[in-house]
């Protein structure tokens, strides 16, 4: 253990003393802050724009306004669903979810495009609730009423046009129904008679029913936490490639293995190295997690409702039924992939040679990523059930399946299979590592090594 610690310590300090580590560590929070700030700035700095509707009845104007109101209501409903089951102050939630409208209708200062041109070009201003501004857009109903023209100097901002298109579709449907003899009151009754679809979850007797049967965030949190863990494992495996490849190449080119192997055993060397890279990536991700946690804590201290929203996630993370199988999968998955990458790195003499290996490794890693995506969409999919038996995918997919309560025997069998595969891979990787690091074998010798391991005689050269 002492030797493993010494190898681990040297490698870990070697990585964390490098500038690249600190740059990577700082990059995520910095970009997160910049990204969030940029998003907030983009949203808050988006100007209030005026538009006018030129049509005799006022119906289009009313329909566009109604469409904006519906959008705002949808935002509030989404916020309520996320905060489902929370004892929140609804009027505060409503206020928080509703952003000031960015498109405001004003009276048209003229009734033809020619006359409105100076207003649209900004040469003249129109009065409105946000002060005097140029007209951003004008809707003009053609004389025969067959088309609604949209005029603006900036066609890239399309939110207003899309809102008008939706409004016109609703208006057209309503007009057609009225023309068919149905009254406006009747249509209102139809809208009110729509039966809402509410989600409920049938709970087992063992489960607490604190929130009733209605689906709340507490029901969704385990799947979300499992997804985050699977993605976290994938990200970690993805990030270790360069550490393991480059680190091993450096030692191979430095011809240091013989010296090391007269002081430590090969398994100690491998274990120390894998632990060091694990610690480096964990340090990075824990730091980012702490950053996110600190941000959430600060936000929660400002809003008790947010604290209630975080609670189900904390409960999921601390649930042994989820976290223990997830941790086992996580560790076995890390060791399995880490051993593969380290063994391959030991066969490379140069960074260029290692780069040729990166492409197949990326493809290898994209496969579980695709499986994670599928599992997010449909965790109960038979494809995921079958794929989770493939040892290279098991670490990711077993984590994702846990919240679906798969049979216990399946969990245990997949864990056993994963453990056996990991042991086999580590055994093979040790052989390859010894051949590469100690005997100087290269990528070209890999086939011969596999044949030799399988008891087949390589062809005499």
């Amino acid at each position: 253990m002492h030797n493993i610690y010494l190898i681990f310590r040297r490698d870990f300090l070697g990585y964390v003393k490098a500038w690249g580590f600190w740059l990577s560590l700082a990059a995520v929070p910095i970009f997160l802050v910049i990204g969030a700030g940029f998003g907030y700035f983009a949203a808050s700095s988006s100007p209030v724009r005026y538009y006018a509707v030129i049509e005799p009845s006022g119906a289009i104007s009313e329909a566009i306004d109604a469409e904006f109101r519906r959008s705002e209501e949808r935002v509030i409903e989404d916020a309520m669903e996320i905060a489902g089951g929370m004892d929140a102050n609804m009027s505060e939630m409503q206020a928080a979810a509703t952003a000031p409208r960015k498109f405001i209708e004003v009276d048209a200062p003229a009734d033809s495009i020619e006359a409105l041109r100076p207003y649209l070009l900004g040469e003249k201003l129109v009065a409105g609730p946000d002060g005097d501004k140029p007209l951003f857009a004008v809707f003009l109903l053609t004389e025969d009423g067959s088309a609604l023209q949209y005029w603006s100097t900036d066609v890239n901002v399309s939110a207003l046009r899309y809102a008008a298109e939706t409004a016109m579709r609703d208006l057209g449907r309503r007009d057609a129904l009225i023309a068919a003899g149905l009254s406006a009151d009747f249509l209102k009754k139809v809208d009110e008679a729509i039966v809402p679809v509410t989600a409920f979850r049938l709970r087992s007797e063992a489960e607490p029913e604190t929130g009733g049967s209605e689906v709340t965030m507490a029901d969704k949190a385990p799947a979300m936490v499992a997804g985050a863990l699977a993605y976290f494992l994938w990200l970690m495996v993805f990030s270790i490639i360069q550490y393991l490849l480059m680190g091993t190449i450096e030692e191979r080119s430095n011809k240091i293995f013989d010296t090391l192997l007269t002081s430590v055993t090969l398994p100690e060397l491998l274990a120390g190295k894998l632990l060091a890279v694990f610690a480096v990536t964990s340090t990075m991700m824990l730091s980012w997690g702490l950053f996110a946690g600190a941000g959430s804590a600060i936000a929660a201290s400002q809003s008790p409702e947010l604290m209630e929203m975080i609670d189900p996630f904390i409960a999921a993370v601390t649930n042994p039924g989820l976290i223990i199988p997830a941790l086992i999968s996580f560790i076995l998955g890390y060791v399995l992939y880490g051993a593969i990458f380290m063994a391959l790195g030991s066969l490379c003499d140069t960074i260029q040679e290692a780069q040729t290996l990166l492409s197949p490794m990326m493809i290898l890693l994209m496969l579980p990523m695709f499986a994670i995506f599928v599992a997010f969409q449909d965790p109960g999919s038979p494809v995921i059930d079958y794929a989770s038996w493939v040892p290279l995918f098991t670490p990711f997919l077993l984590i994702l399946r846990i919240p679906q309560d798969p049979p216990l025997w399946e969990i245990l069998a997949q864990m056993a299979l994963m453990a056996m595969t990991t042991a086999l891979i580590v055994w093979g990787a040790t052989k390859v590592y010894r051949a590469g690091a100690v005997h100087g074998a290269g990528i070209g010798d890999l086939v011969g090594m596999v044949k030799s391991a399988m008891g087949m005689k390589p062809k005499a050269s």
Binding site: D258, S263, V264
Partner: protein
Amino acid sequence: MGDAPLVMSGATKRFGAFTAVDRLSFEVPAGQIVGFLGPNGAGKSTSLRMALGVMAPDEGEVSLFGARPDIRNLRRVGFLPEERGLYKKMTARDTITYFARLKGMSAGEAKARANELLETAGLGKFKASRISKLSKGMAQKVQILSTLAHRPDFLILDEPFSGLDPMNQQTLEDLIRAEHQRGATILFSTHVMEHAERLCDRIVMLARGRKVFDGTLDAAYATLGQGARMAVEHGFDLAAALAPKGFEAHRAADKGPGDSWRVDLPRGLGAQDVLRAALEAGAPVLGFQPEEARLRDVFVALVGEAEAATLDVPTPAEVVEAA
């Protein structure tokens, strides 16, 4: 097997169809300096790697302090590999400390030892310098110090002099003698015979993976008869002149006035006999020196001229220059 630092018994190592080391048997007795000699590719490094347990022999046995090489008995060994390499971003002191700790020293002891060794070697000012910032010679010194840091009982040095300038070669020779005086047993491989002649109590010679000699230096020299070096004017055929008198002469590559020849002395005859014979044959002698046997000559006699040609033997002028 006793508790000798190293005993190899019939050790064989093959790489595919190629036999790198063939039934090698020898012993390194405690307290001796043993030279492991042979040309490049003779199997020296492979043998040393087997001695250290880095490679397992395909046949035969290796015993280190009376047991198979493992991490426990390897703690008593200091190893300097032929292909040198250190972590370039580590400092000189951290490097020595690290390797000493891997050999079982405590952190404090290893650090103090590193400071002491660096000061002694004149590298005190570079303690905190990264290896990448040191000159090649300094980095090699740091690696050698790393090998000695844990005060090993047995030092195995694979081509320790290669890449060192004459000054540092001398420093290393002194260091090997100092370690020997401390009580360490030393086995070093080299293809430069002069180092072995100056340092070794005994030598093991290897050619094409096979042992060709194992014994003391005196025993090695005893395998050859005596000889003499003679310089004559250009163009004079000394071999033809001495052949009727029973002497065999060979052209030598020594630099100096005229043509240089080495004359073998038949048993029972002395150097003065060959000089007399040459003068009687009318040889225009410019220089004459009775010659004692050299390890290279021993090696030539044992394995043949072609094999010996791969040995790195400096000319007399180079030896003078290096000194």
